[in-house]
Symmetry: C2
Subunit: 123 residues, 2 copies
Amino acid sequence: MAHLISLLTNTDARGNLTVIEKIFPFDIKRIFYIYGVDSSVRGKHRHHLTRQAAICIKGSCRVSNQSGKGLPVQEFILDHPSVCLMIEPEDFHWMDQFSPDAILMVLASEYYDPKDYIFEPYE
Amino acid sequence: MAHLISLLTNTDARGNLTVIEKIFPFDIKRIFYIYGVDSSVRGKHRHHLTRQAAICIKGSCRVSNQSGKGLPVQEFILDHPSVCLMIEPEDFHWMDQFSPDAILMVLASEYYDPKDYIFEPYE
């Protein structure tokens, strides 16, 4: 099941600093971020191996997720740089409702491999 | 010497996607990002070991850098999510001129260790 974690954030008079260190159960091999996106639905896949962590660093978006056949669809609103959604390989997920200023960053446990993607939804 | 690299960015009708994969000469052990910052100058240190990559994912800022005693100060403007500044351990660097919306992300080769910081500037 996908689940939210809260990232350590230090706030002082100079501003905010959010840190990611020693909190994921994987090494970060790939990072990508999407921005300037339209209203298209993104994602719609799960993986064989890849574990991911998703953070909406700016703006907001919705991530929907189904972790297996017959399981309910989870919905998460990512709307702060300290909110991080952990996504497991079995999590069939999709993203929409991007705010115009949204920047969604994803940290992944594996290098890109098209063979690691499963595009067939659960029923 | 610090130097800029350009991150692979795929742009289509749905928006932009910038990828970081297999391009740094180090594994990413720590990520931090600063936002909502005031006009304070940040940084002002170099490292014994840590190598870093800095990206202004939103807005803009200036990074100044001196790589050794008597060497000229380099200036870099980071103003696009695909512009990445590679910072070596010997690079004494500081950041300022943050735009109000700036989000500066730093990817680091080492876990946080206060003993890895050198705060004395070159002359």
